[in-house]
């Protein structure tokens, strides 16, 4: 009976190691869980930090970038000469491809109530290059801005656009509030 109770040295060491391992894993996990156990976090662009460098179009791991242009219509000036729509050196201020800033023609311009134009983004075409955002930010209300589309984003652990972003505009936000409105947007 007494012989069975006796631990061999290796068994004793295994018990100790197991205890220490459990203590470390449990301690780390428990401590972190107690500190901030939150639901999911998702990537988003803070439009107030974005400097329209254009890397969102090229650095996403997906072939089609998960970043697309978003239009806050409440902020839009409905300008005829929209600096987010027209090339700075346009020939005539119309919808001709040579006059458009957008390289893929994703901005659809329509005459709303005279003399105002509405500018809508064709999601299926937008590549997230931020050229329109740059124009709208420099000489406009900034109603056009980039946002991560969560139906396209894979929510990588390390977002490769975030790693390339020069202005640290990529942040993780709670999944129940996944979009960041630009200052002035009534959203």
């Amino acid at each position: 009976m007494s012989e069975e109770k006796k631990l061999t040295r290796s068994e004793f060491l295994a018990h100790c190691g197991r205890g220490v391992g459990l203590l470390i894993v449990g301690g780390v996990a428990g401590g972190l869980a107690a500190r901030n156990a939150r639901a999911g976090m998702v990537w988003q662009i803070d439009p107030n930090k974005c400097n329209q460098c254009g890397q969102c179009a090229t650095h996403c791991v997906r072939d089609q970038s998960a970043v697309k242009c978003f239009h806050a219509f409440e902020m839009c000036g409905y300008c005829e000469l929209c600096s987010g729509f027209l090339e700075p050196k346009f020939i005539t201020p119309d919808e001709g491809a040579e006059n458009q800033l957008c390289p893929v023609g994703a901005i659809v311009r329509q005459r709303e109530i005279d003399p105002y134009y509405s500018y809508e983004i064709d999601e299926s075409r937008c590549i997230g290059c931020a050229r329109c955002v740059k124009g709208c930010t420099q000489f406009g209300n900034g109603s056009l801005y980039l946002q991560v589309r969560h139906d396209l984003c894979l929510n990588c652990n390390e977002c490769s656009i975030a790693a390339a972003c020069p202005s640290n505009a990529f942040v993780r936000v709670p999944a129940n509030k996944p979009y960041i409105p630009r200052l002035g947007a009534n959203l």
């Binding site: 894993v25 972190l32 791991v61 997906r62 390390e158 200052l183």
Partner: protein, 284 residues
């Protein structure tokens, strides 16, 4: 320069000089026009992220897979069942979930959370980090054998295993600790997630990626045609953690010395060099 353009430039300069009237506290370059009562703004589509309850499904799937792997490895002892389990894991965690979040990458999130108190660690990442480690304390590295999609991919790629010389095998396996240290250090410093950045397998799951990643992925897969699980054995930082804990596992695959006739067949058959002749116990 056309006349219209000059006019536009002049207008823009004039607008810049004019102090904007800030009635709503926001200064607009060209204030939004009053489009009348009848006008409704177009709807802006904003897709919702993946539903929160699906994180529970992922965690449940991980737990079930780990339990099954432990049962297959230690009780039922069926190699074929383990292959099917790893294929299922490859499909779910790899191709469906696109490899994110995985326990290997979660090391960095945990390291970051330990050093940066403002960093928010989602509970699902913590669960993915801790569950395989706890299972390793109980049943050894069952995560590696049947759950890890990377391991499954390398197992499926293995065509003709070549025996790696022992000195080389042991030397290279030290790389894992170096890699783990580097990744933890960089994550703790907030310098990005090194493991995820140079992950050789997620490019297959996403079927996209940049050129240098594809070169790296191709090299690892080519190597795993002839060397069993090269990433796991020589680079995987999570494998290093699991290996440390699995030494103290409650129950794990062993060779009973009394019944071993030392024929050496098992050491020859193991494509990963896990069984060495003259040693009493073996690990996955």
């Amino acid at each position: 320069m056309s006349g219209r353009q000059t006019l536009l430039r002049a207008c823009l300069v004039l607008l810049c000089l004019l102090p904007a009237i800030a009635s709503t506290g926001v200064e607009y370059f060209s204030p939004p026009p009053d489009l009348g009562e009848g006008y409704t703004y177009p709807e802006s589509y904003q897709a919702e992220p993946r539903a929160g309850w699906l994180a529970w499904v992922d965690t449940f799937a991980l737990t079930v897979a780990l339990t099954l792997a432990a049962l297959i490895a230690l009780r039922w002892r069926r190699r074929r069942a383990m292959v099917w389990l790893s294929v299922a894991s490859l499909l779910y965690f790899g191709f469906y979930r696109k490899g994110c979040v995985c326990p290997i990458g979660a090391i960095q999130n945990v390291a970051r959370a330990l050093f940066d108190t403002t960093y928010v660690l989602p509970w699902v990442v913590l669960a993915f980090f801790a569950f395989p480690l706890l299972f390793a304390l109980l049943f050894g590295r069952v995560f590696c054998s049947g759950v890890c999609p990377f391991g499954a991919l390398q197992d499926l790629a293995l065509l003709k295993p070549v025996r790696v010389p022992r000195w080389l095998d042991e030397g290279l396996s030290l790389l894992r600790y170096f890699y783990l240290g580097l990744a933890v250090f960089l994550a703790a410093m907030g310098a990005g997630y090194f493991i995820c950045r140079y992950d050789p397998f997620v490019s297959f799951f996403r079927m996209s990626g940049r050129f240098h990643i594809w070169v790296w992925s191709g090299a690892v897969v080519l190597l795993s045609f002839f060397v069993g699980r090269p990433y796991c054995r020589y680079l995987c930082p999570y494998g290093a953690l699991l290996g440390m804990l699995s030494r103290f596992a409650v129950k794990r695959a062993t060779i009973t010395p009394d019944r071993c006739v030392a024929c050496g067949l098992c050491a020859d058959a193991c494509p990963f060099g896990a069984i060495r002749e003259g040693e009493e116990d073996a690990q996955q």
